[in-house]
């Protein structure tokens, strides 16, 4: 039985290789399909790469927003689970999400959200294998406010730009 887990992120460590997208889509879609990946790396300016995925907000606003109860939380991992049969592709979960993390699948328009691969996330494995550790698995209770990580990736990238480029970073994105 899995414990509650969480994928912590260190944006500055992301190399931008997007192997997380490849690994995620290989696992969930059977083939490489970056736009159907549950983690997507945004790069609004070269160098400012932001792996964007569900942060598992403590209050799960997406779950509450769903008009057809297609979203729920996994009893073990606490990941958000989408019932694809029920999903009506309304996009309300996207709007409810503070970071606009969910997307509609490019194939069938159903909402897709990270399901933590049932407890052993593929994205974390490849990131660790390459030594980047931009994505790390945390196997402990919610000691941080996860919701703070659910943030528009362009806003995160703007912060990274200043971190990397100083004053110049204020104007590149």
């Amino acid at each position: 039985m899995s414990k509650p887990i969480w994928i912590a992120r260190d944006y500055a460590a992301c190399s931008g290789c997007k192997r997380c997208e490849i690994a995620c889509s290989l696992h969930h879609e059977g083939w490489m399909w970056p736009e159907a990946s549950r983690v997507r790396v945004f790069m609004p300016f070269p160098g400012c790469e932001v792996p964007h995925l569900c942060a598992q907000c403590n209050d799960y606003p997406c779950v509450d927003s769903c008009p057809v109860q297609a979203l729920s939380t996994d009893a073990d991992t606490k990941a958000v689970i989408v019932d694809r049969e029920k999903c009506i592709s309304c996009g309300k979960c996207i709007k409810a999400c503070p970071g606009q993390v969910p997307i509609l699948h490019p194939g069938d328009d159903k909402a897709i959200i990270c399901d933590l691969c049932g407890g052993d996330p593929e994205c974390v494995k490849v990131c660790k294998e390459a030594g980047y550790n931009a994505l790390m698995l945390v196997e402990e209770g919610p000691s941080v406010h996860r919701r703070l990580f659910s943030r528009n990736p362009i806003e995160v990238a703007k912060d990274l730009a200043v971190l990397f480029f100083g004053e110049k970073g204020e104007e590149v994105i």
Binding site: K18, I22, M43, F45, P46, G47, G166
Partner: protein, 622 residues
């Protein structure tokens, strides 16, 4: 459809504002694979018969941005740019790592083929819905950083408008030109991601000649299906194991060579190749790393080599400059070749060159050439409007702008080193050879930052002299056999050579076979496919253009400077061995089935399926 291909190419005529899809049959794809190989084939089929009459900057020329069947599947996705080169009058396959490559595949296209000339500046947008020509007037004149910022915003906003409900749109993949390309500086690069460049061949100028500021792609589809998916997954895992094992390359990239290639192998261009040795420890990696590297592991799509490192200057007069490491080539060409040995000045020059869309090798080659003419009093302060003194980063910055904007002597220097030498000679009433002896190029392509005089680097006697891509250090001539399964292959399969080195070739060719289903091997590339591509490139190179036609054998040689003895360092007195060049060039031609002038024989053309090239070669054999 063989595996790995999206299945169609976008065919754009900018003069007629016509955009349509085109395909190639399986036999053509198997014979030329993709990228560099397919580019040569497309160029031959479409404009081969009129080749000599077409200048690289004429609307009739074709700009190609192609992927290959391995792009975005094998680690390190790249795009290959080609066309008739405005420098060599032949073809060059010039590659750069960029998300444009993976995005265009996901949009369902293997590449774009662009002919004609737009009336006003445009860019091409490629999405799952197809291609479209869009206004780029507001982007014209913009440097790299600004172009990326504006296009990322504009395109994501537009796509979100078209499909507002699907969630956040990620930025597109972009290849673009800077002011240098816009003003048709003949050796300008096609740029991506601020500092990644298809640098050789002058395809930035070709885009500029078409009023084409950028090509932008955003796809939501799958990476193309492959012939043997389970094998591909396994091979991918194995390949990454090899790449992840390359500790030093991953840790420092080529950023340490700025010192080593000067001090150890004595093959680094210094002050326009007047010297190739230095012991300036300031050009060593730690000075760059500790002061300027803000991101030490930077990678492109699917890459675990992450040899790129991002530099930023945060204080002083160059504050706000952003570039990659610089990598070795730009440490040399934007550093030592300009007499610059200060890491900060080097990072700055690299950022300037990138932003202007100069090729980081070829542009500063011309700048070094100009600075030497100033040193020798052939060009004067009046020609420039300032003094381009060695090591003066401020003056070199002005020079980079002068060329990009084609002002004063920059008008002439923007023709590339070779043509500039001829024009300056004429202007100054000198003999061409008096100036060509300072022009470090082979067949119009300025030479990469690896000399041949010490013979201690990987580049030797015929590396450039016999190469169909002239001075291109990424695809040198070796023996007419082994290199066919190296750069000729990776430029056609289109993935990064730094994800190729360190991986056993058997594995790479198993990978190629598992993706495409073609019965290809290292041997088949060395004996048939590689020679087919190079022979076609050679034929086009020999046909030449309206302004320059190369003399077989005579021009299959090194620049004058490579035969001058090295003046300093451990290899003092060494020079490239003329007799060896002559002998190895002869063997090279024989191995590839070319005659003593390097013209492909009738039998060779027949064997490689190129018999339709023979009528044009017949005249050259006489």
């Amino acid at each position: 459809m063989p595996g790995g291909y999206a299945g169609k190419f976008l065919d754009v005529d900018l003069s007629k504002e016509k955009v349509e899809d085109t395909t190639f049959d399986d036999e053509t794809l198997e014979a030329y694979f993709g990228g560099r190989g397919l580019a040569a084939k497309i160029l031959w089929d479409r404009i081969g018969k009129r080749w000599r009459k077409i200048d690289g900057l004429d609307p009739e020329n074709i700009f190609l941005a192609l992927t290959g069947p391995m792009t975005a599947i094998y680690p390190g996705a790249r795009i290959m740019c080609s066309g008739k080169s405005p420098l060599s009058n032949g073809t060059v396959g010039s590659t750069a790592s960029t998300e444009f490559a993976s995005e265009i595949k996901m949009a369902g296209y293997d590449g774009v083929i662009v002919t004609g000339k737009a009336e006003k500046p445009v860019y091409i947008l490629v999405t799952d819905e197809g291609g479209e020509i869009r206004d780029a007037s507001h982007l014209w004149g913009k440097v790299g950083e600004e172009t990326i910022k504006l296009l990322n915003r504009e395109v994501t906003e537009e796509l979100a408008k078209r499909k507002p409900n699907v969630g956040l749109w990620k930025e597109p993949g972009i290849i673009y030109i800077g002011p240098a390309g816009e003003n048709m500086v003949r050796n300008a690069a096609v740029m991506s991601k601020i500092c990644h460049a298809c640098g050789y061949g002058g395809y930035g100028a070709v885009m500029g000649s078409k009023n084409l500021k950028a090509v932008v792609a955003k796809g939501r589809g799958k990476i193309p299906a492959v012939d043997a998916p389970e094998s591909v997954k396994l091979l991918l895992k194995k390949t990454h194991e090899h790449l992840i094992g390359r500790t030093t390359m991953r840790r420092w990239g080529t950023g340490y060579a700025g010192y080593a290639v000067g001090a150890d192998t004595s093959s680094e261009p210094i002050r326009n190749w007047q010297e190739e040795w230095h012991d300036e420890k300031s050009m060593g990696g730690p000075r760059f790393e500790n002061r300027f590297w803000v991101k030490k592991k930077w990678a492109d799509f699917g890459c675990t080599t992450n040899c790129m490192k991002i530099s930023c200057i945060k204080t002083g007069r160059w504050k706000g400059d952003i570039t990659d490491m610089p990598d070795y080539e730009l440490e040399a060409y934007c550093g030592t070749n300009l007499g610059i040995f200060d890491p900060g000045d080097n990072v700055h020059m690299s950022a300037v060159i990138d932003n202007l869309g100069h090729s980081g090798i070829n542009g500063p080659n011309t700048m070094g050439f100009a600075a030497e003419l100033y040193q020798r009093g052939i060009l004067t302060e009046k020609d420039f409007g300032f003094k381009p003194a060695w090591g003066d980063a401020e003056a070199m910055t002005k020079l980079a702008w002068l060329i990009a904007e084609r002002r004063k002597i920059g008008r002439v220097l923007g023709e590339g080193t070779y043509r500039a030498a001829l024009k300056i000679a004429k202007k100054k009433g000198m003999k061409p050879e008096e100036l060509l002896k300072y022009a470090v190029h082979v067949k119009g392509i300025e030479i990469g930052a690896h000399g041949t005089r010490s013979d201690a680097d990987y580049t030797h006697d015929i590396s450039y002299a016999a190469s169909v891509q002239g001075g291109d250090h990424t695809s040198v001539a070796v023996d007419g056999f082994t290199e066919m399964s190296a750069a000729v292959f990776t430029d056609s399969a289109v993935f990064c050579n730094f994800c190729f080195f360190g991986v056993p070739q058997e594995l790479v060719f198993d990978f190629a076979k598992a993706i495409t289903g073609f019965p290809i091997t290292q041997e088949s590339w060395r004996r048939v496919t590689g020679p087919r591509i190079v022979t076609l490139q050679r034929a086009l190179l020999l046909l030449g253009g309206p302004d320059v036609t190369w003399k077989p054998v005579g021009d299959d040689d090194n620049p004058h400077r490579f035969y001058e003895p090295l003046p300093t360092g451990p290899y003092k007195g060494s020079k490239t061995d003329r007799a060896l060049v002559k002998q190895k060039r002869k063997t090279y031609f024989e191995t590839l089935g070319w005659d003593e002038k390097g013209v492909p024989t009738k039998e060779t053309l027949k064997r490689l399926g190129l018999s339709d090239v023979d009528p044009l070669m017949r005249k050259l054999r006489k």
